[in-house]
């Protein structure tokens, strides 16, 4: 939690005022038993009705003051915690936007989302609690002891002594319970994983008739989880009885010893009444503390998870100022580029090795090769989704690491393998890269992407809502929309990473024809699976295990490149080869 202290700063006033008001509230609350003792001592024992009445009004006044300070504390605490939460959330969001692809890969997207949502709520609630309950409990504790000591030193010391024993007991209990909870979480994760996997593969489970097997596997993790949860819960169950018993023993001691003191007349009966009250205050605030501590440890986990995101350094940052210097991007060059995901130059870590490619405006480079050969990685280096490990990529002769990052990416249109669309209309989605695009521009892009026809057939056309509340599109339709989205920005460098895989053959063919025009003025890289898609390309690069093993036209490669011939054979059968 302390790691997030920078976000407390703007609200330091509330952070001081909140606890301050709470201390006042506690003070007023602690006055009440003292006043009640007054009633007993001077009203009842000394038989004075006036004292009872006057003290009664005083108690009303004190109760009102307690209300005012209590409400005040809450107002400050709420203001601080909600604002703090909002700030942290914004900081996280902004940070994540700056993440590079490998930063993202390091966090699973699921955990990034929980870090930004429920974890923030956790720490926000903790702050609220810290400013109220965590001030209140210790204040009550200290206040009660002080009041007790003031009333009678010996009785007060009994209370203080008990308190020390109690705190020690609590510390021991908490120390032992922490590892148990970690175990519970781990087992719960195992249960969840089992369910998740089972649901994902339910067709396979059914096809292989593996219900019993699955149930057996599930039973194992379920039993383990149950066993450890019970163990943890039983341990927790010790908590309350131990604390209560110690405190109640203190209560009995106070009553007996205090009763003795009353009988010899050194303590007044009313004071003992108040004393009993303070003992209970101490006990209840202790129990509160142990409850709160559990919250703290939970929120601490959240705070750490948030901290991890906030302290992650984006691996790729724009060096130059992000001035909107337009890059003409008429020439791209890979010079001895090698790449590994962990940044090491060790040959066995390298995903790409000594890549040299050069392309100018109007060139189309087709890339083909086995899965894992490094095709996607290769093209993702161009917009600096990852940075090269050695060598350099130059655009218009300049190392891309020297170019403004946003400016660079805006000049490169990359269509990723998985098409992701946002909630919103089809129009919003296509205009994602250029929000001020006209309808004509949007339609033109959609037409090239072979999306216009199916969009026009939808009842609401370009205004059709996509996403949770909207229409569900097929994989091929999504792909066409994401192609249109990229085409709309007319990037001088266009990268298509196997982005037509879900299209049927007819559509793909029409798309390729329509793209011819666009490609005249761009540098195009496209990754393909089918030989038929690359066959017309003037340059085909064959990638194998991270290295270029062939480069040239279809005919040249058929003559020279073994790997290429293999691929060809797999797609066209022997007949064609012979």
């Amino acid at each position: 939690m302390w790691g997030l202290r920078a976000y407390f700063k703007p609200y330091w006033k509330f952070l001081i005022l909140g606890p301050l008001f709470m201390i006042f509230e506690v003070f007023f609350d602690l006055l009440q038993p003292r006043l009640a003792a007054h009633i007993v001592n001077f009203g009842i024992v000394d038989r004075d009705l006036g004292v009872i009445e006057r003290t009664g009004w005083l108690m009303v006044g004190v109760a009102l003051l307690s209300l005012i300070t209590g409400v005040g504390c809450n107002l400050f605490a709420s203001r601080a915690s909600q604002n703090f939460g909002a700030d942290v959330r914004e900081a996280l969001f902004t940070k994540v936007q700056a993440f590079s692809f490998d930063n993202m890969d390091a966090f699973k997207s699921g955990t990034l989302i929980t870090r930004m949502t429920s974890d923030v709520v956790q720490v926000q609630n903790l702050l609220q609690l810290a400013l109220q309950g965590m001030v209140r409990a210790p204040s009550l504790l200290v206040g009660s002891v002080v009041m007790a000591l003031l009333m009678n030193l010996k009785l007060g010391l009994i209370l203080l002594g008990t308190l020390i024993v109690l705190v020690a007991a609590l510390v021991v209990l908490i120390r032992f319970s922490n590892p148990l909870f970690a175990g519970v979480q781990a087992r719960l994760d195992a249960v969840n994983t089992r369910i998740q996997e089972n649901l994902a593969g339910i067709r396979v489970v059914k096809a292989f008739v593996r219900t019993d097997y699955e149930l057996r596997r599930f039973r194992d993790v379920n039993e383990e989880y149950t066993a450890i949860s019970i163990r943890a819960a039983r341990f927790i169950a010790l908590n309350a009885p131990i604390v209560t018993l110690i405190m109640n023993a203190c209560m009995v001691t106070v009553l007996l010893y205090g009763g003795d003191l009353v009988s010899i007349g050194s303590v007044q009966a009313g004071d003992l009444v108040a004393f009993v009250n303070y003992v209970v205050q101490v006990l209840s605030s202790l129990l509160m503390v142990s409850g709160l501590l559990m919250n703290v440890s939970q929120a601490n986990v959240s705070a750490r998870r948030i901290g991890e995101v906030l302290t992650t350094q984006p691996h790729i940052e724009g060096k130059a100022r992000e001035e909107d210097a337009s890059i003409p991007a008429t020439h791209v060059e890979f010079a001895e580029v090698s790449f590994s995901y962990n940044g090491s130059n060790d040959p066995k870590d390298l995903v790409l090795r000594d890549i040299d490619i050069e392309a100018s405006r109007g060139d189309t480079i087709a890339i083909i090769g086995a899965t894992g050969a490094g095709k996607s990685t290769l093209v993702q280096l161009i917009p600096r989704l990852y940075d090269v490990t050695s060598g350099a990529i130059r655009i218009d002769g300049k190392d891309i690491r020297e170019l403004p990052l946003i400016g660079l990416r805006r000049r490169i249109g990359i269509i990723l393998q998985e098409s992701f669309l946002f909630t919103g209309t089809i129009r919003d989605n296509i205009a994602f890269g250029k929000p001020d695009a006209t309808q004509a521009e949007i339609e033109a892009a959609a037409k090239i992407a072979q999306a216009h026809d199916f969009i026009a057939k939808l009842p609401e056309g370009y205004d059709t809502q996509l996403g949770q509340k909207g229409v569900n599109l097929s994989g091929g339709q999504k792909q066409r929309l994401s192609i249109a989205r990229t085409l709309l920005v007319k990037p001088p460098i266009l990268i298509m990473d196997d982005s037509t895989s879900a299209l049927d053959l007819g559509t793909e063919r029409r798309l390729r024809t329509a793209l011819q025009d666009v490609m005249k003025d761009t540098i195009t890289f496209f990754i393909a699976q089918r030989i038929s898609s690359v066959i017309e390309a003037r340059r085909i690069i064959v990638l194998d295990d991270g290295a270029i093993v062939g480069s040239g036209t279809h005919a040249q490669l058929m003559a020279e490149c073994e790997v290429y011939r293999d691929i060809y054979r797999s797609q066209f059968g022997k007949r064609e080869v012979s």
């Binding site: 509230e25 609350d29 009440q32 006043l35 024992v45 038989r47 009872i52 009445e53 009664g56 108690m59 109760a63 307690s66 809450n74 107002l75 959330r89 969001f93 936007q97 609220q128 609690l129 109220q132 309950g133 209140r136 009550l140 369910i195 339910i202 096809a207 292989f208 699955e214 149930l215 149950t226 019970i230 819960a233 927790i236 908590n239 309350a240 209560t244 018993l245 109640n248 009553l255 009988s263 205050q281 509160m288 709160l292 083909i368 086995a370 899965t371 917009p383 946003i406 990416r409 990723l416 992701f420 946002f422 909630t423 989205r485 049927d504 053959l505 007819g506 038929s532 797999s570 797609q571």
Partner: protein, 619 residues
């Protein structure tokens, strides 16, 4: 927010025994108001939860008995303290006082012991109960028919198994016991107070309507803001979810700034409403605190006056100060506990909803269904639609003789995959017949049928576990040698051996360390091991690059030998050798024949073929 604010959770004024506080130490204070979720049939749901609880018979009785005992002891303590004041302390008799003190300590000790037993038992009670529920739910997931999973998102199903059940568990563990204790404590306190002084009781109880009234008012007022806060929080979470999932797209378009801008807008709205909602609902705590202060002072002042007139003793005042707290606390908490309880019942109801769905009908196995299938498959005038009003297959007939390979081609959505869904009886046909070896499949035992069908799907399904376990999934009793033989057969052995841990390499759920093609080879090995009579390959190579495809094709060819095979393919190169190619269009068979025959027909197939190979023909 009552009960969640730290103010309310402090036993402010002198309960002589705080056992009831112990219940709270488990979960810690809860945040925010518990959203009101009303169940549809509370009584029915409770009866069913009861059905689970009953299984824990003895434990359950222990828990309830201990709860009652604990409450009784905590009711006794204030009475004893009052007694001590009156009989010994005020009268200054030290002799009996010690004995009384020991009795009091005994009561406290017993209270602590029973609290411990109660919580000890309650933890296994609740955990075992939800274990059973979770197990039943998981089992039900295994038995439900495939259409159920096609309709519901995994997230939703997960949420039932995780969140709803956790909800039930918490409630069983905490709330139910608290609820019982609260009610007992409330009633017990009133009884004890009445026995001490009727008038004082009336005065003390006077504050109750006031508490209830204020709680209602404030809750009503804050609910609006609270709902609004939840709504805004939902918006923020939704936006975060989408932006993170689509972050790569945002970055490739360099759209980060716009994304942050939009987030800021939504976040500011949440901030504004959050401050308001929290300020309002949080003030509930101080208010309740004040109510307690008021009760305290009323007892002190009026008790003082009564005592002044010798109507009651000091001891009674002491007891009352304690009881009033024991009695106002449950009132504060009851509403909150009731809401928690309701939301748990609603959670349980969602679980039961799933449990109540009809599982796949286990067919009474007619004679001879366990006989090995030869693989003669007939579709006879089959009609089917996922929704009755939208037919997908129309009057479809086909025949595959044992050992034949039937290829299905056609545009997306034509119904190719549907044929597979019907053959495996993931879905049942609406009219017509499907015969396997001359027997209608509706008469076959589903499990017996499926164990004779091998499936290799587009998304290679790999679960977390070792490679060996993944392959062995095809036949659980297979030996290591058989597993490895199957892998060799499927062309997978070579790459597996190259892995550092070989067959014992642990795969995570995403199959992370393997490529899509390698995962597909594993599923083929799995099918080899299962040795089915009928084989279905549904776009098995479409996510795979072409070089790996070569390996897969070889493996598939081997696998298809001697089995009736249905191959759905996108790439025509894979199916040219099929015994029959069926072109499915709009749910009907548009063309059928061998590769050569179809090319001569110059129909859809020939078109597709030209499309795919046009450029080759030219070169």
């Amino acid at each position: 927010m009552s009960g969640s604010n730290p103010n309310t959770s402090s036993a402010n004024k002198a309960p002589a025994n705080i056992d009831q506080m112990g219940f709270r130490s488990g979960p810690g204070p809860r945040h925010g108001e518990v959203p009101k979720v009303r169940s549809k049939d509370t009584a029915g749901t409770l009866r069913r939860i009861w059905g689970y609880l009953k299984l824990q018979g003895a434990t359950l009785i222990w828990v309830v008995a201990c709860t009652v005992l604990t409450t009784v002891f905590s009711l006794l303590a204030p009475y004893l303290i009052g007694k001590m004041f009156d009989d010994y302390i005020v009268k200054r008799q030290y002799d009996g006082m010690f004995r009384m003190g020991m009795i009091l300590f005994g009561v406290y000790a017993l209270g602590a012991i029973f609290t411990w037993i109660q919580q000890y038992m309650a933890s296994s009670l609740s955990q075992n109960t939800v274990r059973d529920m979770r197990h039943d739910l998981f089992g039900q997931y295994q038995r439900l028919p495939v259409p159920f999973f096609d309709r519901k998102s995994h997230g939703e199903l997960m949420s039932r198994a995780v969140n709803d059940i956790a909800n039930v568990s918490n409630t069983l563990n905490q709330t139910v016991v608290q609820l019982i204790a609260s009610v007992l404590m409330l009633a017990g306190s009133v009884v004890m107070m009445l026995s001490l002084s009727v008038w004082m009781t009336l005065i003390t109880v006077l504050t109750v309507p006031l508490i209830v009234f204020i709680t209602k008012k404030v809750t009503k007022y804050t609910r609006r803001f609270f709902t609004e806060q939840q709504k805004q929080l939902g918006e923020v979470n939704g936006f975060v979810q989408e932006s993170i999932s689509g972050l790569k797209v945002v970055k490739t378009f360099g759209n980060e700034a716009r994304s942050i801008e939009r987030f800021r807008e939504i976040n500011e709205r949440l901030r504004a409403v959050g401050v308001k909602a929290q300020s309002l609902s949080g003030s509930m705590g101080p208010m309740m605190n004040t109510m307690r202060n008021l009760t305290f002072l009323i007892i002190a002042v009026f008790g003082g006056m009564f005592a002044y007139h010798d109507l009651i003793t000091i001891g009674v005042i002491v007891s009352f100060l304690n009881y009033s707290n024991q009695f106002s606390q449950p009132i504060n908490q009851l509403a909150n506990q009731y809401n928690l309880f309701q939301s748990a019942v609603a959670g349980a109801e969602r679980v039961f909803e799933v449990l109540d769905l009809d599982p796949e009908t286990a067919q009474a196995a007619t004679a001879g269904t366990n006989r090995p299938i030869r693989g003669d498959v007939v579709f006879d005038h089959v009609n089917f639609g996922y929704k009755p009003e939208a037919p997908v297959l129309k009057n479809l007939s086909l025949h595959a003789a044992p050992g034949q390979t039937i290829a299905l081609v056609g545009p997306t959505g034509a119904g190719k995959t549907t044929i597979i869904n019907l053959l495996t009886r993931f879905y049942d046909i609406q009219s017509g017949r499907i015969l396997i070896d001359g027997q209608e499949i509706r008469e076959l035992d589903k499990e017996a049928l499926r164990s004779q069908i091998g499936l290799v799907l587009q998304d290679a399904y790999v679960f977390s576990g070792t490679i060996r376990e993944n392959i062995r999934y095809g036949r659980l009793e297979a030996t290591d040698q058989e597993v490895e033989a199957a892998a060799r057969h499927a062309n997978a052995d070579a790459f597996i051996r190259k892995l550092p841990a070989g067959y014992d390499t642990y795969l995570n759920a995403e199959g992370g360390n393997l490529s899509q093609g390698q995962r597909q080879l594993l599923t083929i090995a799995r099918a080899v091991l299962a040795n089915p009579a009928i084989l279905i390959l549904d776009e098995a190579t479409s996510n795979v690059d072409t070089r790996t495809e070569l390996h897969i094709q070889e493996a598939m060819k081997l696998l298809m030998q001697g089995r009736t095979s249905f191959v759905i393919a996108h790439r025509l190169s894979t199916i040219q050798e099929a015994d029959a190619i069926l072109v499915i269009q709009g749910g009907e068979i548009a063309e059928r024949g061998t590769h050569e025959e179809l090319l001569q027909q110059k129909g859809f197939y020939a078109d597709m073929y030209d499309n795919q190979f046009a450029s080759t023909q030219v070169s």
